[in-house]
């Protein structure tokens, strides 16, 4: 197996500055009280919070940082010992464990400790665990926990459920106004939704550049580059960043520059990243000239429905249209579309032990998809943060065996066609 070059994106340096700015603002608000702080789930109603002047903190980003820095397995036992099961979301157990241990990987980014919330706002469109997570801090700090109980396993996004979530969003505003000490300015909300939509559109265009062969971007790049779309959507900084990123990616496309040198095989990744093995997985696949060109995960921050002229209903619709909130049938349709659009040779399903809601290998989807599309599938056992659920050796054999299978199949087709 040869060493393969993975090209780094130039703008990653700027990404660090943008993310650093976000953490600095939170640190300042935390220290000086210059702005109220709201915690928000990653695909929760962040636009409402930003419009009311909150500094918004996304603890899932902290969960990912705990995983990527491999601090997670050191701190999770503290949460387990308190009665938070090893079988529930390991973002939750990592984050609470880190809080109990008084450590955070964000210290390197200028945030000495996680910012104490004035309010925690969840949406259950992704899972139940986020609510339990926020309830812990609500009890810990005696601060309000507000939220949206959204429908899950949504087939068609019918108007009735959009109305339901819109109503719940409207109901959030008065208590949030009270905590923020200000009134909602509808023009400001429209402006934030407009910026969120711009961010979403730019991020989508960035991800779509990977439809090119060779791809200028990998899923592993995407998990890092999506940072501003997660924590800064609704801000001018995020849209400015994605304009720069898009330009660099378009430059790569024009020059035929591959993210993985000598790209031969293209994969799709379904489910969560394995944060503590991001670099290992990226390197292993690159050594096999394999680029993971698309994922359901990075697409989670694309909100096509957002509409500045109709802020709350469009936010409600966008939160319900998300892949993670959809039924098996709707998810399969999305995957079939992406297989075709990104011309992938195979699909990897990461069955993440503690994230059942973002693991799509548990109800027969891989076999159904392979049968319908003819594209081979691989299921990898692992976890987003808990590396006890992941075996390096088994994963390596699975990945290598899968690429051998794809290579043999391509070689056979090539012989038949010639």
């Amino acid at each position: 197996m040869t060493k393969a070059r993975q090209r780094r994106l130039r703008c990653t340096a700027r990404l660090k500055e943008v993310m650093g700015g976000h953490f600095s603002a939170l640190a300042k608000a935390s220290k000086t009280g210059s702005a109220p702080i709201a915690w928000c789930t990653s695909v929760g109603p962040a636009e409402i919070l930003r419009a009311l002047g909150f500094e918004v903190y996304f603890p899932e980003n902290h969960g990912a940082a705990l995983g990527a820095s491999r601090m997670a397995n050191r701190v999770m036992p503290r949460a387990h010992a308190m009665g938070y099961s090893q079988e529930i979301c390991s973002y939750l157990t990592s984050d609470i464990g880190a809080h109990l241990a008084g450590v955070t990987p964000l210290a390197k980014a200028g945030l000495e400790s996680i910012p104490k919330a004035d309010v925690l706002v969840f949406s259950t469109n992704q899972c139940r665990d986020v609510r339990e997570w926020f309830e812990y801090y609500g009890r810990e700090w005696s601060v309000p926990v507000l939220g949206i109980t959204a429908p899950r396993s949504v087939d068609q996004v019918e108007q009735a459920i959009v109305d339901d979530v819109t109503f719940q969003m409207e109901a959030l505003i008065p208590p949030l106004e009270s905590i923020a000490g200000t009134s909602m300015d509808s023009a400001r909300l429209s402006e934030v939704v407009k910026l969120s939509r711009e961010c979403s559109d730019l991020w989508k265009r960035c991800l779509q550049t990977a439809q090119t062969i060779p791809s200028p971007l990998t899923f592993f790049d995407g998990t890092i580059q999506m940072g501003p779309a997660v924590v800064l959507r609704g801000s001018a900084e995020a849209t400015a960043y994605y304009r720069v990123l898009l330009e660099e990616l378009q430059e790569r496309v024009a020059g035929g520059v591959a993210a993985v040198e000598g790209e031969k095989y293209r994969l799709f990744w379904d489910g969560m990243p394995i944060w503590g093995k991001l670099s290992d997985n990226s390197t292993l696949l690159a050594e096999m000239k394999t680029c993971v060109v698309a994922s359901t995960y990075c697409n989670s921050w694309i909100f096509d429905a957002l509409d500045a002229s109709d802020p709350l209903p469009s936010m409600a619709r966008a939160s319900l249209e998300l892949f993670i909130a959809r039924s098996e049938g709707a998810k399969q349709w999305v995957l079939e579309e992406m297989i075709e659009a990104f011309q992938v040779d195979g699909l990897v399903f990461h069955d993440s032990r503690t994230c059942p809601n973002n693991s799509n290998a548990r109800y027969g989807m891989p076999a159904r998809l392979q049968k319908k599309t003819g594209v081979p599938v691989l299921v990898i056992d692992g976890d987003l943060n808990d590396l006890r659920c992941y075996s390096d050796e088994q994963a390596r054999t699975n990945f290598e065996g899968f690429i051998e299978q794809i290579a043999d199949s391509k070689a056979f087709r090539s012989r038949v066609e010639s």
Binding site: M1, Q370, Y390, F402, E404, Q405, D408
Partner: protein, 264 residues
């Protein structure tokens, strides 16, 4: 000493290292098995030397060597490598026409591999990060019953009562065995229940369809496991020649194929 030309395959498994030498006609001419231990490269070299000695040839007559198995990346004298998924499939497809389902049960992993009518791999499943459904599970149960692993199958063959054990976790199953011992259950019945548990775990991994072929050390040395697989999967299960060395045989075939491609 023969001056025939050979191709070598090394399967560096978690328990045992297997080496096969084949000739230009893909006939298996010699094989050897040694414990892998902690030094992968040394056990591979030792095993390779044994196979050469048994083939009554010299190292210089071996044209190419490929490796497979979990230690495949650690054997410097192998020219190239393939996964054990590929090598078991390649080895079995050499003997049998597809569609095939290959069930390979090794020391620390179990695999189910589906091949199409042309012998190409369609899919595979490996056991999860757990010893249940592998040879390590039988080792644990043999230890609990106080018998050598080599004698576990003979013990199970003397069973009188059909018992059920869990198949979720080796440690939990071992605890179940203790509880059944306290209830006065007999070792042959417990040994048979252990095989049932192991095969249940494997047959849960994927649908067994087409011609079902079993390979690996567990099938090679535990006749009760084969009987149990046929009974539980409700199909005939074929065991090819040298099932334990099938991965090494596949690696040798890969070496031979690569050389024939180069020489064309």
């Amino acid at each position: 000493m023969t001056m025939d030309r050979f191709y070598g395959g090394i399967d560096s498994g978690s328990w045992n290292t297997k080496v096969v030498l084949i000739d230009g006609e893909a006939r298996l001419r010699s094989s050897a098995i040694v414990r892998t231990g902690a030094d992968i490269e040394t056990s591979a070299a030792e095993c390779f030397d044994k196979a050469i000695e048994r083939a009554e040839t010299d190292r210089s007559n071996v044209i190419s060597v490929w490796s497979t198995g979990f230690g495949r990346h650690s054997i410097d004298f192998a020219e190239d490598r393939r996964t054990e998924l590929d090598c078991h499939a390649r080895g079995v497809a050499h003997y049998m026409d597809g569609p095939l389902t290959i069930v390979d049960i090794g020391g620390q992993d179990a695999k189910v591999i589906h091949l199409d009518g042309e012998g190409r791999r369609l899919s595979h499943k490996m056991n999860r990060k757990c010893a249940a459904g592998t040879g390590s599970f039988l080792e644990e149960i043999a230890l609990r019953l106080g018998v050598d692993i080599e004698n576990l199958s003979d013990l199970a063959a003397r069973h009188e009562e059909e018992l059920e054990l869990g198949s979720f976790c080796t440690v939990f199953t071992s605890t179940e065995v203790l509880a059944l011992i306290r209830q006065g259950k007999k070792p042959p019945d417990l040994a048979r229940a252990a095989y049932r548990s192991l095969i249940k775990r494997v047959t849960e991994m994927a649908v067994l369809e087409g011609l079902v072929v079993a390979t690996g050390g567990v099938i090679a040395h535990h006749p009760v496991a084969l009987e149990m697989m046929e009974s539980m999967a409700d199909c005939r299960v074929v065991v090819p020649e040298h099932p334990q060395e099938m991965g090494a045989f596949g690696a040798a075939l890969a070496a031979r194929n690569a050389c024939s491609r180069v020489s064309k």
